[in-house]
């Protein structure tokens, strides 16, 4: 079967299902879940169908409206876009499945159709953001996923949720408008919006100052979306107060969009022209890697002192964005491989963490870590999933998190950046403390009674968490396939 039309379907199908979802909800509210499940599954199948083609050819393009690149919008799925699309559609499917039972419990019944509509819009926008080859199209999809995430954080309507969403909205809006402003700056001196065309024309532009300012503003704006250290303040509130499936999708996928934005700007747009001769390019990469290293240490340290499970997990996300960004910005092929691999590993581990936290809230309304005594005996699958995922988040073999940190450290040592290596190791040590503390409470404290019965959440809730945690294990054991593909892709980037 020909896959030439598939790239556009990645956004068109979820958008179609989203647009029809409220109409279904008008007829029957229960119909919204199977409807969105159908949309997300169809998209996931299409994404996976693209994998063989793109691994063979490197990248595929699609001219929307039949217009050639600089004039029309060009969708271009390269390896990075494919990686993100596969993670988004697979994790999105599991999280959607989980949210079916959870969300009935958490929000008002009249809001349920709009919950699924927003979910599908968020899903479509993240896919569109990952696969587009056009700078303004990137902004449009960024707007959609930002607006839908603000709404989904606040959807419970509680006071705390509204405040967290408003904080997220303020920082996100500043970041969005900065991206728009930088696109305008770049367009005024380049005259094109297609990423590859811009990168070609950047080499010969006489307007160095404007181009450099746009670069710096892009990095700053996407850093807010990615929640890197000095601008991470919105993340712990928003991610911990949102309904758990939404926390999972925000932590596993939405903050990766900020990372992807930085990657696109640094490597796809500015990389070819700037990597060899621009001081600013190298320096900003250096600044970013320091910010990332501080995110690792500070995120992990803040996670330790938290008493609530979800806040702890949210701070751990700050640390993990740090690992990913450190890998990307250190300009070493090994570290880059580790960073990109950590995108997958962290998506699976962190989604599993939030789903487990959600199951505990659903079943026992447990939010604090101290309340989790003996949960490992009554909810073995949920707690077991948490234990396996925490191995990956800490970075112990044989999980995927280990391979990610191994390559990152390898890159640090190869480049002689021993300070970064030390910071990564400190971060991992701290993460061992905060993760295993929870595992300790779950399995090794509390009453040891023979009368305790197993009392699990419904299978639609524990299966996604268990699958995600098994995923980290399987991906860690069979990592060579993915790692070799990433290494091949990194070989084509301007990193030495």
């Amino acid at each position: 079967m020909s896959v030439s039309g598939f790239p556009i379907l990645l956004t068109a199908i979820p958008l179609l299902f989203a647009a029809l979802c409220p109409i279904w909800g008008m007829w029957k509210r229960e119909a919204c879940f199977p409807w969105s499940l159908a949309g997300v599954s169809a998209t996931a199948i299409i994404t996976w169908a693209l994998v063989p083609k793109i691994s063979a050819t490197g990248a595929i393009g699609y001219e929307v409206g039949g217009w050639a690149p600089p004039w029309g919008i060009h969708i271009r799925i390269d390896f990075m876009g494919l990686l993100m699309a596969v993670i988004i559609s697979s994790a999105g499917l599991l999280i959607l499945f989980y949210s079916w039972r959870y969300i009935i419990h958490e929000i008002e019944e009249t809001k349920i159709p709009y919950y699924y509509t927003l979910f599908l819009l968020l899903f479509a926008a993240m896919l569109g953001f990952s696969i587009t080859g056009d700078l303004f199209n990137l902004f449009v999809f960024m707007e959609i996923f930002s607006i839908t995430s603000y709404a989904l954080v606040a959807i419970s309507g509680e006071r705390k949720a509204l405040r967290a969403a408003f904080k997220y909205l303020l920082m996100g809006a500043v970041s969005s408008i900065t991206v728009l402003f930088s696109i305008a700056l770049l367009y005024s001196v380049i005259g094109s919006l297609n990423m590859l065309d811009i990168s070609k024309r950047l080499g010969q532009t006489p307007y160095g100052v404007v181009v450099n300012t746009a670069f710096a503003l892009f990095i700053g704006a996407f850093a807010v979306k990615a929640a890197v250290f000095p601008v991470h303040m919105w993340l712990p509130d928003a991610h911990s107060i949102a309904p758990s499936p939404i926390s999972a999708i925000l932590s596993a996928l939405v903050i990766k969009m900020g990372v992807l934005g930085i990657f696109r700007v640094v490597f796809t747009i500015y990389g070819p022209a700037f990597s060899s001769n621009s001081i600013l390019w190298k320096n900003l990469c250096g600044v970013l890697s320091w910010a990332a290293a501080f995110s690792v240490v500070i995120g992990s340290a803040m996670a330790i002192i938290q008493r609530e499970l979800k806040v702890m997990i949210a701070y751990s996300s700050v640390a993990h964005v740090g690992y990913i960004l450190l890998g990307i910005c250190m300009l070493s092929p090994r570290a880059m491989t580790g960073g990109l691999f950590n995108i997958i590993a962290h998506a699976m581990g962190k989604a599993c963490f939030f789903l487990v936290a959600g199951s505990l809230i659903y079943k026992h309304n447990m939010k604090r870590i101290r309340e989790l005594r003996g949960i490992g005996r009554t909810m073995p699958v949920t707690a077991g999933a948490f234990a396996i995922a925490s191995l990956s988040i800490v970075g112990l073999p044989p999980t995927a998190g280990f391979m990610a940190k191994w390559y990152l450290l390898w890159g640090c040592f190869q480049k002689g950046r021993y300070v970064f290596a030390a910071m990564v190791l400190i971060g991992s040590l701290l993460s061992a403390i905060y993760c295993f503390r929870v595992v300790y409470y779950m399995f090794f404290t509390g009453p040891r009674l023979r009368t305790q019965k197993i009392d699990e959440v419904p299978p639609t809730m524990y299966l996604p968490a268990a699958l995600l945690s098994l995923g980290t294990l399987v991906l860690g054991i069979y990592s060579s396939l993915v790692i070799s593909a990433i290494t091949r892709f990194v070989g084509g980037l301007p990193v030495k």
Partner: protein, 255 residues
């Protein structure tokens, strides 16, 4: 606290200075040799009318050359509506008494008479703006804003219950997604004919026929954007109206 403010002011001043410096380095405003006017724009200007099918170049760019972006923008508006409905819920018409006094009489006969005459004219103008976007400034978004404004005026004068009687929720919900659906259906129509998504010249038709079909496809999208835009504005305003903001003072509400 004082230090915090000082730091914020200083960093904003540095950022402002940097941006001013950048603006100074930009090509002169309106100069015809600047890169943004010599790379992709000439094709839009020279061939836009025949290629994109609209005398108004901006409409051609919005709907045809960069139609996919507009599909995204329409989805942004739709997401905004979903966000508002998910947070505030649909309108609560029993609570609202705007525009009428305690006995249910209109508050101002003059305002109501004027509005009654104006609303059809405004709606008529909105349809003109929507359909005429091809040749003159205007188009779906502008027309939609005008539709929304006319319904808002009607609501202010006659109150929420009478407005929602005219356009009930069950009627609005399908129309709210019509813009996204118009884009997607036209896109899929092209794909069925074997061309790329959002291509408006369908193969297998004579040149004249293909141009006519393109005109109808583009007009369908324009009207879709307009109707959905207007209805979305209306729904957002309806769900924001609350009783306490419009409650009459006690001396008026007692007969």
């Amino acid at each position: 606290m004082k230090w915090k403010k000082l730091i914020v002011i200083c960093s904003l001043a540095v950022l402002g200075g940097l941006l001013l410096f950048t603006v100074g380095e930009m090509p002169l405003f309106g100069s015809k040799d600047s890169p943004d006017k010599t790379h992709v724009i000439p094709r839009y200007l020279e061939k836009g009318e025949e290629e994109a099918g609209a005398k108004n170049i901006i409409t051609g760019v919005i709907l045809n050359y960069r139609g996919y972006d507009t599909e995204g923008e329409v989805s942004v508006i739709f997401s905004a509506l979903c966000a508002v409905i998910a947070l505030l819920g649909r309108e609560r018409r029993r609570l609202s008494r705007s525009g009428v006094d305690a006995a249910g009489r209109p508050t101002s006969v003059i305002v109501n008479t004027v509005v009654k005459f104006l609303v059809p004219i405004i709606l008529f103008f909105a349809v003109y703006v929507m359909l005429h976007g091809e040749d003159s400034p205007g188009g779906g978004f502008q027309g939609g804003a005008i539709v929304g404004a006319s319904i808002i005026i009607f609501t202010l004068a006659f109150g929420l219950p009478r407005s929602t009687d005219r356009i009930p929720v069950g009627f609005r919900i399908p129309l709210e997604s019509i813009a996204v659906l118009a884009f997607l259906s036209m896109g899929f129509l092209g794909m069925l004919f074997g061309v790329n998504f959002l291509t408006f010249i369908l193969p297998g038709l004579s040149s004249r026929m293909a141009h006519t079909v393109r005109f109808f496809m583009l007009s369908f999208i324009e009207v879709g954007i307009g109707v959905a835009g207007g209805i979305i504005f209306t729904s957002i305003v309806f769900s924001m109206i609350r009783e306490d903001e419009y409650e009459l003072p006690p001396n008026l509400s007692q007969p």
